[in-house]
Assembly symmetry: D2
Homo-oligomer: 356 residues x 4
């Protein structure tokens, strides 16, 4: 499994759900950045499990210990390694999972790829828990971006069939700050109650649901990106698809833009005083792979949590027979709320890598 | 602008719509591959313009001249450079486009990024014409993949609101061959007539429409890919987003999987004799970033062609005033049919890069 | 500072001499490798300080703690993170080194590059101590290479003016094993006494000396590598120059080949039974960037340790005046013996990255 | 064979000695650079063959045709593709070279690597002729660097046993300009006569000689580079080893620094007015992988041309027997003079990639 990513900013991600620790190395950080650890921990908590009955009751403190790259709270320019120890390891018997492949999970392809040597406890390196170090790295990236005026925020665009509004064309920093205050950020304040009901129903039924997250990156100047392989989309999409359970990535209106006529889809330019704006932002602030100065808007689709307690049909790779499997333990009936900060973090890392 | 892409297979893409030539260098090709030029030219024609009134009447022969890497029609292992000369250059006056930014196009962000030095004639390096060398490279990749049994095919999933069926769970090579025979491949033979009517209506109205393309990659063995930054999705998505006008990329059911319950979304495994299959393929043959042996299914959303002849509102960056613009010339009212082979080509390049 | 390196095998190096810990992440390791920790620790000891009066008396146990990627002593295929805690931290006052730039060290360029934010304690991330995790990673690489029959060994080619013999054309695994037994490996058993005298003289004079290390990689099959940017030399040289104090890298006879005639420099091929060999190995087993099946031979030149206790002239960047500096503390009068295993480790990592 | 190289500046090198054309794609060029084609052609001529009896009489005009990335002589920011057609192709019979492996050449390892499919005519992609597009790319890089005040020049440090002086510590731009005026640049004007005699003797004896080239890069500001994998040495060395026949790369005094004491090798800093200088430059302007503001000095060792007309012993891979081989045709008895501009070009590309 590859660990490394990035050019102007570098990551190396490691660890397994039930190993000693998970963590990340961040290379090419600028020197002299005073890290705001309160801000970082706030983000870590947004992702952490156990906050309510919509998420797994597993309690991980997700405390970050920085091993290098920092002196007196300020980056030295040297690679920063952050560790998160796994406190909540169970001596549970995982032998069943070595044989019976959980549907919707990485179990079977990983079994083939790593010839059965991969750590299956809690999903090993495939665990959603690996997004914790990504939130740490993303939070560091956000602090660097903030110095350049760039801010990022996201909301729950949908849970199953329940839709929130989409970002308005004139979305601003204040709007994002308001979303950040909400435990379950939606633009329409009432819609989350409906979403919550759907999630609770799934939980009661030992089932799960997914949804979509829409994210905005504000104040990226026009002229960032390139056509083809070095476009903004080409930079952000692999990061977003690296978030476990993400099955779609869209920019601007995404799939919905395919239902418009050209005269509707094209975003008309106009000068507002000296500033170039577009009347609509159907293209999500990007044309030709390059930012046009409007908010960069994208959304990701997250599938229902594959871990469900219902009995499922599957295979036993040891006996090579069809079988049934019931997964016990603690599962999120919906990971969408916890994934918001992960999406924001990936966006921060991708943009920071591009503006170097 | 970056030219290079890839690791196990390497690309370097160059050229402008109205320059001397466009082309591509392909590095790390295996030696000893006898290129089937007929097959390659068949693919080039699937992308070429001017075939009917749904596409631009511009006539480019798209004849490929191979400058290196081939001896007696067989790859030598050395980098292969393929050139396509631009035969249909007009001495048209492009000065208007240096000032008036076409909505929905790269004009304005490119103007900022390259300080006005970029070649605006026909879109320069941003032109959709640059997909011609990609189809060449993709066709070479497909011939290498074919030797490993891997085949690729796509169909028009939708044009504006008109939907084709989606690939069946047991899609096979014969199905893909049948699609390849059709000039406008849809699974439901009748649906293209409706699509054609929508496109024709847009053409008559000096407007344009977009749509979606669904693509299948068959016979990729289980165990290709890795979690996180080296997943199949992380490899394919930047290539797919490098196709001009692509605004969304989805794997499996994509956004639609967010509307299912977990027990529906999970693809149950079963043995069919010795072979592991899944009863549904909602995850598009990929879980945890790794292939599971089922067909890899993905789809892309393509926005309506931004070039429309209707008068549009925009800015003049020289006078710094708001203005209107009418783009004359030859435009595709819908590029989706021509983009099919481009999507297949990108899929081939991405998979070949992964299986090295 | 960049942390990451490699493609088929990936590294991410982090830590500072006097921080909490140093370490390395190794990505893309094959699954199922049973690590021989005794062998690894033997290599760690070959690099460790404090073994005799030729090296610094600083005592670091260099105990490796593996945080991820291993289950029951076997690689899982997931990124392996190895930590070495810094046990021997002193509360020494380093304020002088923030102002007075040590000649021959990274102090001044790092001060400029990182605007004074870099950790100067013990050299920070520039410390030779960072080669400890590299020896760990290299030792893992060697165990993977060993399964393919590839073995690596090196000897002290020179200390200052004292020269050892060079590897014979028929160097074999047994020869390398004998070198590994020696605390100070030289081919000519007697020559190390002379070398030791030179080192001791330098130590007594508060001075230092350098030397050369010649390394052999045996049993690399013919056909590894490529011309130009993907040659064996292009892969190994950046790794070798990443070893602090290395100022030259040579393949085969290196600079000495420039003194031969073409008819002497060319290595004539012959069949010994079915095996292709060359009568001489002046090209060090590589022509055109590709291995020819003969031992790969290279050598590195290591400058005298820049840390010497003599009074030196330098600048004070705070007062912006010329000044003198006397560096107290513990220094190696010659790091060449400890660098041998580092050179071998880099060779292992480079070759493993190439044969993937 | 890999074609691509670089990050901030990208290359893709292609072509074979006797194919249709050789060439290079340069990506990530800044827009708005007016190319001085006279300057470029002057460099092309410094490398071109046939200038006198010290080089091969083969006449290649090495005329560069730019296919993309330029409009009205100014870079557009798009990838620049430059072609050089092969005018001097012979219909000579190359069948012998497919069987009998030339000692010192890539023939045998390439035969194994590419299973006999590689183009052997004139060495194919391994030909020294491939350095022509590199000189083109390097010349473009030099023009960009010149705008930042950075200049590059080299001299013949030695031919066989005949040594020129080395660069003085206070080498300046005027010194480099004087070297550029000389057809065979040496610092000591008289030493080239001796070198010429050695080359002529080799030519008469159907033999060849090699030598060393020392190169200086002036006005690189302090603070470029990083420790370990991102050092100046790690960037430049793979480029320099990509030049055919280069067997050693040294920075500063290189191997000779191993013969000094630490107190001699360390370069003492001092202020000359406000400017930081060192009294000696044994470290070649680099410590800890980072520039210190002094001239960056490096040297490469080039082996004797492997193509000699003397009868040599070798193998026939078809009959699998030992045999003798006499290579007819046109060979350089010494390629060192023609390689000077290639070394300078690689230095320019490496530095431009680092300062982005």
């Amino acid at each position: 499994m590859s660990a490394n990513w990035g050019t102007n900013i570098e990551l190396s991600l490691f660890g397994e759900s039930h190993g000693k620790a998970i963590g990340i190395v961040i290379g090419n950080l600028p020197a002299g950045i005073k890290l705001d650890m309160d801000e970082i921990n706030k983000n870590m908590k947004r992702r952490a499990p156990g906050l309510n009955k919509m998420s797994t009751p597993r309690k991980e403190k997700d405390e970050v210990e920085i091993m290098s790259g920092i002196l007196d709270g300020v980056t030295t320019g040297a690679p920063l390694c952050a560790l998160i120890y796994n406190s909540d390891q169970h001596s549970k018997d995982y032998s069943l999972l070595k044989e019976c492949m959980r549907p919707g999970h990485s179990d079977y392809p990983a079994y083939i790829k790593y010839q059965g040597f991969n750590d299956v406890r809690g999903g090993g390196h495939f665990s959603g828990r690996l997004t914790a170090p990504i939130v740490f790295a993303g939070s560091v990236a956000r602090q660097i971006l903030k110095q350049k005026g760039i801010v990022i925020g996201a909301h729950i665009q949908s849970i199953k069939d329940i839709q929130d509004q989409r970002f308005a064309v004139d979305i601003n920093e204040e709007d994002l700050n308001q979303l950040l205050q909400k435990p379950y950020p939606t633009i329409d304040d009432h819609v989350f109650d409906e979403m919550q009901a759907v999630i609770e129903e799934a939980r009661v039924n030992q089932d799960s649901v997914g949804g979509k997250i829409e994210c905005a990156i504000l104040n990226v100047p026009a002229g960032i990106g390139n056509p083809f392989f070095d476009s903004i989309e080409a930079h952000l999409s692999p990061l977003l698809f690296s978030i476990p359970a993400v099955k779609s990535v869209s920019f601007g209106l995404g799939e919905d833009i395919t239902k418009l006529y050209g005269h509707e889809a094209n975003d008309s330019y106009y000068y507002e005083n000296d500033i170039v704006k577009t009347k609509t932002n159907n293209n999500g602030g990007i044309t030709g792979g390059i930012s046009n100065g409007m908010p960069i808007i994208f959304s990701v689709g997250i599938k229902p949590t594959p871990s469900i307690s219902q009995t499922q049909q599957t295979i036993n790779v040891k006996t090579q027979e069809n079988t049934t499997l019931q997964i016990t333990g603690r599962h999120d009936p919906c990971i969408v709320p916890r994934a918001i900060v992960v999406v924001e973090s990936m966006a921060a890392l991708g943009i920071l890598d591009m503006i170097g």
